[in-house]
């Protein structure tokens, strides 16, 4: 197995787990954590050259860059059900800032003063310490149409990733 296959296999497995977390008795932070992890593995999978024995480099904005690159891939566009490049572009563009915010959920990027889906943090304004399971994550409200679109895109990308 090469690095690309390994990252994509891991993304697909984590995505399957993500869907099993879509239950009212599971705190939303766990879903969000898996969303972030799946996007990270997918971006690394596409970044990995199948013929390269080395792992793909770690970089910032990997998901945003991937989505910007996908706009110019006719086969991906068709696989995701878009015949019109302009419509596909508008769809991707409408989600770029949300994708960037999902990438910022990595604890290392968020540090201990910003909300993230995995580790507690302290609100610098109020001094209050939060556990992710108790936080609503309003930027990523699962009922928000943009979040619904983002999750559908994620589902589709996981399905077509090879």
């Amino acid at each position: 197995m090469n690095w690309r296959e390994a990252f994509i296999r891991q993304a697909k497995s984590e995505h399957a787990l993500l869907r099993r977390l879509d239950r009212p008795d599971v705190e939303y932070s766990h879903r969000l954590h898996y969303i972030q992890m799946v996007t990270e593995k997918l971006a690394k999978g596409f970044r990995a050259n199948p013929s390269d024995p080395n792992p793909p480099p770690t970089t910032h904005h990997a998901l945003v860059r991937l989505l910007q690159t996908l706009k110019g891939r006719p086969e991906v566009r068709r696989q995701l059900g878009y015949s019109d490049a302009a419509v596909f572009r508008a769809f991707i563009d409408s989600l770029l800032d949300l994708a960037d915010q999902v990438e910022q959920l990595v604890p290392g990027a968020a540090n201990t003063t910003q909300p993230n889906a995995e580790y507690p943090w302290r609100d610098p304004k109020t001094g209050e310490v939060f556990a992710p399971i108790d936080y609503a994550f309003p930027l990523f409200d699962p009922r928000n149409p943009r979040m619904i679109k983002f999750e559908r895109l994620l589902d589709a990308l996981v399905n077509i990733a090879t």
């Binding site: 480099p57 904005h61 572009r89």
Partner: protein
């Protein structure tokens, strides 16, 4: 695979990228006999953070008229010629501009 076949796919993908993202101001092809290697200049892409061009890779898809695997990177225009290229891509002097309409 013949170089001409790879070049044909490079031009096809460059055109598709321009259509999908009108913000791309230039597309460059790094010739190779097996893989399509493209770098697009797009001002709105995040700045590269580690000094190297990092393409995304796509497998060959003959059913979609894409017989060669491809690596495509989008960088900012002012990063052209400054970033380190992936191993095997040659130098920036090897970059062939693919003009609109080619």
């Amino acid at each position: 695979m013949a170089r001409e076949q790879v070049e044909r796919q490079a031009k096809l993908l460059a055109l598709d990228n321009r259509r999908a993202e009108p913000g791309i101001i230039k597309m460059y092809w790094f010739p190779d006999d097996e893989e399509v290697r493209l770098v697009g200049l797009l001002p709105s892409v995040p700045r590269t953070d580690n000094g190297s061009v990092q393409p995304y890779h796509f497998l060959a898809n003959p059913a979609a008229s894409l017989p060669a695997p491809s690596g495509i990177a989008l960088i900012r225009p002012d990063e052209f010629g400054k970033l380190e290229l992936p191993a095997g891509w040659g130098s920036w002097d090897d970059a062939v501009p693919l003009e609109e309409g080619e």
